[in-house]
Symmetry: C2
Subunit: 332 residues, 2 copies
């Protein structure tokens, strides 16, 4: 009798409860693939959207899910050096399809190019909380927007793991972060995490406050995963020749393009996903940058809450509550 393992899949799209623990034969890595014995999973908003059938990738049912796992390689496929076995690695989003390589499970089989080593000082939980947040921020802020000393950077959904990574990255680069959050609940924590300014949109006018903070110039860079009506306020808060990086679609509403504001400022609105970075030559440089700043502790993956593997449905529900500050992690 061959061994079986638990793999999380969904057989239809929908709420968190569609995630099921399927008992499947232990999968063998194919050519250029590795198998990871999973120790921790970092959850991402993209995976909630994928589960709902609202993501850039359309699920092929039954679909796996999950971009970020940390663990130990326990088998390699054809063409992969066997010295990888026993190494601690984590998986890099944007390098594989969720439907067939999603990492929610006791083991995960992914392409060799999807794995990366990380500093040994980090726990598995931290190891599963690196790549989505720091590479997404790197691609937008450093690769595309080329932030530098003195730049004002507006960061919406600031208490998300990517938001916090952007706050840390702005600090490292000498830029000034303006964190945007809906309610006052997370304001103090964002300041403690290093945000230079925090704007609470339920209580303050975004554009007016940015105007104050930047002495009327506006912010050169905006980093936004929300879209929808907030784009108008963000454009109003952007400097002449500024750039708005849209990297998600969390808003339920349509996104109006502020044409007149954009014309008067020569504004760039650049939609961006991590897939672009991982497909580009800059990818290895980006990974090195992240590892260096993890090693120096300039970047500290913040874990909000951990759930045991058996409670992954509750972990998804918790993500949808928007109560977290930082990463939600599932442990095995």
């Amino acid at each position: 009798m061959s061994k079986t393992v638990k793999i999380v899949r969904f057989h239809k799209t929908g709420p968190a409860e569609v995630l099921e623990f399927d008992e499947l034969p232990l999968p063998e890595p194919g050519a250029s693939e590795v198998r990871i014995s999973v120790k921790a999973l970092g959850l991402n908003r993209a995976e909630v959207m994928f589960r709902n059938g609202q993501y850039l990738e359309t699920p092929v049912l039954p679909a796996k899910n999950g971009y970020e796992a940390a663990g130990v390689i326990d088998a390699v496929g054809e063409g992969v050096d066997s010295s990888w076995v026993g190494k601690t690695v984590s998986t890099v989003p944007g390098t594989f399809k969720l439907s067939n390589h999603g990492v929610y499970g006791e083991v995960a089989v992914v392409p060799l190019k999807a794995i990366a080593e990380y500093p040994a000082s980090l726990s598995y939980e931290e190891g599963a909380s690196i790549w989505m947040q720091y590479l997404t921020a790197y691609g937008a802020l450093i690769w595309l927007a080329k932030i530098s000393k003195g730049d004002f950077v507006i960061i919406t959904a600031a208490s998300s793991s990517v938001g916090i990574a952007a706050i840390e990255m702005a600090k490292v680069e000498g830029a000034i972060s303006i964190a945007v959050t809906r309610t006052a609940a997370k304001k103090n924590q964002l300041l403690k995490l290093g945000a230079d300014h925090v704007i609470v949109t339920d209580e303050e006018d975004l554009a007016a406050r940015v105007n104050e903070i930047t002495s009327g110039k506006g912010a050169r860079v905006v980093f936004d995963p929300i879209g929808g009506p907030i784009l108008e306020s963000l454009a109003a808060a952007t400097a002449y020749h500024g750039i708005v990086l849209e990297y998600g679609a969390l808003a339920a509403e349509a996104t109006p393009y502020p044409l007149f504001t954009a014309l008067s400022k020569g504004l760039t609105v650049r939609a961006y996903t991590l897939f672009e970075l991982t497909a580009d030559a800059v990818f290895s440089k980006a990974k090195q940058y992240v590892c260096e700043h993890l090693a120096s502790r300039a970047f500290r993956p913040l874990i909000d809450k951990t759930f045991p593997f058996a409670e992954i449905v509750a972990a998804h529900r918790y993500m949808e509550s928007n109560a977290q500050v930082g990463k939600i992690v599932v442990t095995l």
Copy 2:
């Protein structure tokens, strides 16, 4: 008794009829200004929008109007070399405010930096039909989008003077133009003017046709002065990592930002106006590029119709009819 001259101004915003011939004392050029005896005026859509109170610049009433005049300098102000007197020049949009320096009149007083000489082979009518169209296209296609050999370039409002200039510029740079026009009426003329492809949006699906023309790749560059709902079709017709240059706001409707399409393609939407180019160091290079291609006849300003000065109201009405292909010129 001092001499008076006719200057066109509007004392309230509204339809073409608000343009009035005000009999004013002959204006003297101030410091760093020149006075032009106007021979021809090139009309622009911006001036219709300004007259309607719908332009980026808000009119200060009573407001002058008009960006492009060709004529002969007949007086210079303090600090301007008197050798300019007698020279044939035309005025460059984006270098002055319409309210106080608008050039509709028997004479126009503009800053020295607003004038440029042009090849002597051109008539006054052609001289008044250069800068808005070729510099606008240069800034978008060459400065920002860096078009080169083999690039597909979608050009909407293709029969406008800027659209035709873009068709000519794409050809000079070895790019492939896809001209977009609403009805079949102007299709043959656009092909004769050098458009490599013409899409008639009343009869054809824009994205499907671009898909065909580009073998499924989409166009790398889109050059659009319309905005509004067409942005969704244009985004659908754009290549991965393509750029949409929005340089106007002709649509009456709001402009939806196609967030999902943009994310899936890493799309850039860049709003752009000529003001950016004229304020940049590239301005003199751009003027030189235009003059060289005018001299070689690679660029041939196309004049649709001329009106006498007394009929400038009719000329504005004609522009609003959208019947023209190329420039509408008023002669004095």
